[in-house]
């Protein structure tokens, strides 16, 4: 078993995921579900990265699971921001009002993409 490029991608994804969780605090409207799913994604990714050394066959699946969890977290954040997004479109809110959420979304989506990439590459080469 050897370390792969995917391990680094997964770890970077987890770090970006943590950053996105912190950034979510700046969102105009927040929901607990987003925190739960994003934290779960990071936890799964980290455990999988650690375990990948010993059991790559199972742990490599951590990346797609983390991706799905991150997607759920992102989805929930959109649901509670839908009114605010509508107000921006209609002009009642400015982009500044939802800037915190937009920044979070950028980070969270990067983490999500990285999780998915790690899913393709795997974190450790299986024997």
């Amino acid at each position: 078993m050897k370390k792969s490029f995917g391990l680094f991608v997964e770890l970077i994804a987890a770090i970006v995921g943590i950053v996105s969780i912190v950034m979510y605090g700046g969102s105009l409207v927040k929901t607990q579900n987003t925190y739960i799913f994003l934290i779960a994604a990071v936890v799964v990714a980290v455990i999988a990265a650690i375990g990948a050394q010993k059991n790559p066959g199972v742990c490599n699946w951590g990346a797609p699971i983390a991706a799905a969890l991150a997607a759920a977290g992102i989805g929930y954040s959109i649901t509670v921001m839908s009114d605010a997004i509508g107000y921006v479109i209609s002009g009642l809110y400015t982009m500044d009002d939802i800037r915190g959420w937009v920044n979070f979304m950028i980070a969270a989506c990067i983490a999500w993409l990285l999780y998915m990439i790690a899913g393709f590459t795997g974190m450790a080469k299986e024997a």
């Binding site: 490599n60 797609p64 989805g75 839908s82 002009g91 009642l92 393709f120 795997g122």
Partner: protein, 1026 residues
């Protein structure tokens, strides 16, 4: 490689599945919104009988949608023609001879005039819809227009100056978010004089100038005296004064025209003194914001096809900031505010969730609008109470009425001359009396005349604060030919001029009463409020005549006045069930000596701003939205009973199959009906009042749509007549699908100040009827209108959605239009109950005032429509009454509305914009009801969703009883509406899954299946490789 591919694909499909599942879980809470945008429905009414029953309790009077649209055009023209107010007309400049004169439209805003107001009253024509504007309106009426000037204004070069904060024609910047700075700017949209070329100016030579001066209106925005002009290079002293570019443009118009006629295209009273006193300005016509089609009516006035008969609904002050009401208007924050405040001793800092940083102290007491200017004027004439002190003077020298008011409330000229006599006033306490007025056309042009009846109640210095004069009723003649006369009758209800005495103790021992003091009551029909007061003063004391100040051509006439005497002071007749309910809205009762209210005893008082305010611990209860705590109490209430009743059985239906009444709300059958509703349904109904009222299957109440607003259904909420219809409705007589008008905007009527200026109840009735017809063709059952708040200051940019500065004019207009809507099965929803006087930080704004002022001014405007139950429902305001959210203030909702007025209809909040302060718990507990929002709004709050709190709600009998009270009032309202159309005793509500939800279910399944497939293939390939 294959393993990795499968794993990666599984990651993608699992992610998509997760998003799809979230969407599937979320979208049902926004089902109504999505359905209306996609033309789908989740509920269908299915007839299980033989289909022979007539299920259309409200039929349209029109053969087609096209006929209705034409009726809207015709009525808008009429309202605008009768609601435009002629302020000045010298040199016979008006009317214009369309056969011999060419007109030049001056002012860049002729291209994008103010038609309504941004958001709830936005007037914008849909594709194919008539959109005349000033140019089209004049052209349609045969005016010969100098099109070179129009083309110049429409050029790309001039377009750069267009008012456009969001879109062309919008000069204000509304915002739903908290503001910690006053509104910064306004765009006048005018162009610099240097842009007019010699060639363009030459083409205006010899033409009549029609100058357009425009100011915008908007929800969620206010004007501010400190605003700067955002149009490049332009400046103004105040936004409601003329700007420099406007002055320059008018100067050019004067140089190049045969005559100058100024059209004031603004609902906020502008400062017009310089135009009034300029001899080169021949005429001034106030036209307000005339909606989509009102421009035709304006053209009729300009051409003389219509004789102007409108009367100003507001005072036009020389300086719009000169009244005491302006003293505390704007941005004032508690010392413990979230932005730049801090905890104050034991008082913690306010939080974002509290949404309570701001306050408004209405220090003017009862003296808003003309009640201030005219009362101080009387005291000036009589030499009383420091009336001529410099405090409040806009000149800096001794206060003098003539320096302060350009055009008084009720002012308006005609192309002819009328004489009028107040023949009689017949009054008995406890009854609605009458006044008769004879009007004669003494001129040589046919026209209508509006008559306003005012009264002066006896005033004792140091006693109850009283306005020197107040409106009590009005009427309007038919068209009178020259020499023709007409006697009109005006209803006079003494309740409308009683004063509220907070200190009076009635026979039952309760405190607070409506008082009519013994003495002489002087009734007068002067041509405006100032003339009426002059008439009274001259009759009361002939020695004052030499001192009187008249405005323009008003005249004194003893025949305008009648005196009615009340022998003994009365505090009981209009005080049944009345007691003080708003004492905590007076900041001086919470923090002594905080504010000095305006008083007739000394006009030097009432001019201080309340710059700092630290809430007390008691005030923090309201400010932190902690008015009620759910708790286990009582024996519980009945939900989900099988009483065998339906919503339809509560209706009284006549032999023609029309609804003629409804079971009295005190009848126990209503309680039995409500008990059939399940707790889950009740929670859904109360928590999800956004975009529609949820269906209640257990009582067969269908889903019901209710939308903005005062000039017709708002296009951004109901995008045309076809929006609510689905193919399942195709058998209905007013079904709309592909008619040419199907996508038209329904927000077309002139704005409320213009409607008020008509003083024509017939027109207002017709407007209500046509709104009811609109509802039948748009499948709507309620309209969030009329706007009934007071024009407390000229600077509230939402004045366009309200009628007037005078509460009696507001009350009669609101009641009249509501009654007409009701006759057509449309639920009126008077808004915003109450004290929504400032749009800046309206969400959570603490509003302080005296109970006397609150009841005599703001609340009196709502009273007629609510006590008659002509308005089926009310929408509460965003602001707080004192420190408590208006929608959760039991004083106004339960004591005043329900107990004193007997209001039976439904209560709904405004759009929840701050879910912690506009919370369902405090709202329901205080007698409010439905929350205008959706469940997700409460997910991220301290209180959480009502659904999640179901278990504790189920233990709180008091709270559940309040829920049932709310449901009952809504069922009572909806039962009388067109929502019953299509229902028979054998109709059932069928739930269907719209295609978009089916698509989401399918996406869930497909992505889940693909994920499983890729996982399987990934594992399988691993095994193979192993």
């Amino acid at each position: 490689m294959k393993k990795g591919l499968m794993r990666g694909l599984a990651g993608i499909t699992a992610s998509l599945c997760a998003i799809s599942l979230v969407a599937t879980a979320y979208t049902p809470s926004r089902e109504a919104f999505i359905n209306t945008r996609l033309g789908t429905s989740s509920v269908e009414l299915v007839e299980t009988g033989d289909g022979s029953a007539d299920a259309y309790y409200y039929d349209s009077e029109f053969e087609s949608l096209g006929d209705l649209v034409q009726a809207n055009v015709d009525l808008s023209e009429q309202i605008s023609a009768e609601g435009s107010v002629l302020l000045k007309n010298t040199n016979n400049a008006l009317p214009i001879d369309t056969a011999s004169e060419t007109v030049t439209l001056w002012g860049h805003n002729c291209i994008f005039p103010a038609k309504g107001g941004m958001i709830g009253s936005s007037a914008a024509a849909a594709e194919g819809q008539d959109d005349p504007g000033f140019i089209g309106g004049l052209a349609a009426r045969g005016f010969n227009i100098n099109m070179d000037m129009v083309d110049f204004y429409a050029s790309e070069e001039a377009f750069a100056y267009t008012r456009q904060t969001f879109f062309p024609g919008a000069g204000l910047l509304p915002a739903f978010t908290p503001a910690y700075e006053p509104p910064q700017f306004y765009m006048t949209g005018e162009i610099p004089a240097s842009m007019y070329t010699d060639d363009i100016l030459k083409k205006a030579d010899g033409t009549a100038a029609i100058v357009i001066i425009t100011r915008d209106s908007s929800e969620a925005a206010d004007y501010s005296p400190t605003m700067f002009c955002a149009t490049e290079g332009d400046t103004f002293e105040r936004p409601l004064a003329l700007s420099q570019y406007e002055r320059d443009m008018i100067a050019l118009a004067k140089q190049h025209s045969t005559k100058v006629i100024v059209l004031v295209n603004a609902d906020n009273p502008m400062e017009l003194k310089e135009l009034k006193e300029d001899a080169e300005i021949d005429s001034i016509l106030w036209v307000g914001a005339p909606g989509e089609y009102g421009f035709y009516g304006i053209a009729d006035v300009l051409s003389g096809a219509a004789n102007p008969s409108g009367r100003l609904p507001d005072t036009y002050a020389t300086n719009g900031t000169s009244s005491p009401a302006m003293m505390n208007f704007g941005l004032y924050m508690y010392t413990n505010n979230l932005n730049n405040g801090s905890a104050q001793g034991d008082i913690p800092q306010l939080t974002e969730a509290d949404k309570a940083d701001w306050y408004l102290v209405e220090n003017e007491g009862i003296y808003n609008g003309y009640k201030y200017y005219e009362t101080r004027y009387e005291d000036q004439i009589l030499g009383r109470a420091n009336a001529t002190a410099t405090e409040g003077s806009s000149t800096g020298s001794a206060w003098n009425y003539e320096d302060e008011v350009d055009y008084p409330f009720g002012y308006g000229l005609s192309y002819t001359v009328f004489s009028s006599t107040l023949d009689s006033v017949d009054l008995t306490l406890g009854e609605v009396g009458t006044a008769t007025v004879t009007v004669k056309n003494e001129g040589d042009v046919a026209g209508k005349n509006a008559v306003e009846l005012f009264v002066q109640a006896p005033y004792t210095e140091g006693g109850i604060e009283k306005s020197a004069i107040q409106l009590v009723g009005f009427g309007k003649t038919q068209i009178l030919e020259p020499g023709q006369s007409e006697t009109i009758t005006i209803d006079v209800d003494p309740a409308l001029f009683a004063s509220y005495d907070e200190t009076a103790v009635k026979a039952d021992g309760t405190q607070g009463a409506w008082v009519l003091e013994a003495g002489d009551y002087y009734f007068s029909i002067g041509s405006d409020v100032h003339a009426a007061l002059n008439d009274i003063l001259s009759v009361k004391d002939e020695t004052t005549v030499e001192k009187l100040q008249t405005i323009n051509d008003t005249y004194l006439a003893a025949e305008h006045v009648q005196v009615w005497n009340l022998a003994e002071t009365d505090i009981e007749t209009y005080s049944a069930g009345v007691q003080n309910a708003l004492q905590e809205a007076n900041i001086n009762n919470l923090i002594p000596d905080t504010v000095e209210y305006t008083t007739r005893t000394d006009w030097t008082k009432g001019w201080k701003t309340v710059d700092t305010l630290t809430p007390t611990a008691d005030m923090m209860v309201g400010l932190t939205n902690s008015n009620y705590a759910l708790n286990a109490n009582g024996e519980g209430v009945t939900w989900g009973a099988d009483n065998g009743l339906t919503f339809l059985q509560m209706l009284d239906i006549d032999g023609d199959g029309k609804i003629v009444g409804v079971t009295d709300i005190e009848d126990p059958k209503w309680d039995q009906l409500v008990q059939q509703i399940t707790l889950d349904e009740a929670i859904q109904f109360i928590e999800c009042g956004g975009d529609d009222l949820e269906n209640l299957d257990s009582v067969m109440m269908p889903r019901t749509y209710v939308n903005d607003g005062p000039i017709g259904f708002a296009f951004d909420q109901v995008a045309g007549y076809k929006t609510r219809w689905t193919a399942a409705d195709s058998a209905r007589p007013t079904y709309v699908s592909d008619q040419p008008e199907a996508g038209y905007s329904m927000a077309v009527f002139p704005t409320e100040p213009i409607v008020a200026a008509t003083l024509n109840k017939d027109l207002v009735t017709r407007e209500g009827e046509l709104l009811g017809e609109e509802a039948l063709y748009a499948k709507e059952s309620g309209i969030i209108a009329p706007g009934v708040n007071l024009h407390r200051t000229p600077y509230c940019a939402r004045n366009h959605e309200y009628y007037s500065e005078d509460s009696v004019l507001v009350a009669i207009m609101a009641n009249t239009v509501s009654a007409a809507m009701k006759s057509k099965g449309l639920m009126a929803q008077c808004k915003h109950f109450a004290f929504n006087h400032q749009e800046l930080n309206r969400s959570g704004l603490s509003t302080f005032f005296t109970e006397q002022a609150g009841r005599e001014n703001e609340l009196r405007g709502f009273q007629l429509a609510m006590s008659s139950n002509n308005t089926a429902s009310i929408m509460t305001a965003f602001n707080r009454v004192g420190t408590v959210f208006a929608g959760a203030h039991s004083g106004i909702l339960e004591q005043i509305a329900r107990k004193e007025w007997g209001f039976k209809g439904g209560i709904i909040t405004d759009m929840v914009n701050g879910a912690d302060y506009m919370n369902w718990r405090d709202t329901v507990a205080a007698g409010g009801g439905v929350m205008l929002t959706n469940t997700p709004t409460y997910l991220n709050t301290n209180i959480g969703t009502m659904t999640a709190a179901k278990d504790i709600i189920a233990t709180d009998t008091f709270f559940q009883q309040k829920m049932q009270d709310s449901l009952k009032s809504w069922l009572y309202s909806v039962a009388q509406s067109n929502a019953a159309n299509g229902l028979t005793e054998t109709t059932v509500i069928k739930h269907v899954t719209p295609w978009w939800l089916q698509a989401l279910y399918a996406a869930d399944a497909v992505f889940a299946a693909l994920t499983l497939l890729f996982v399987f293939l990934g594992i399988k390939s691993k095994k193979k490789e192993a």
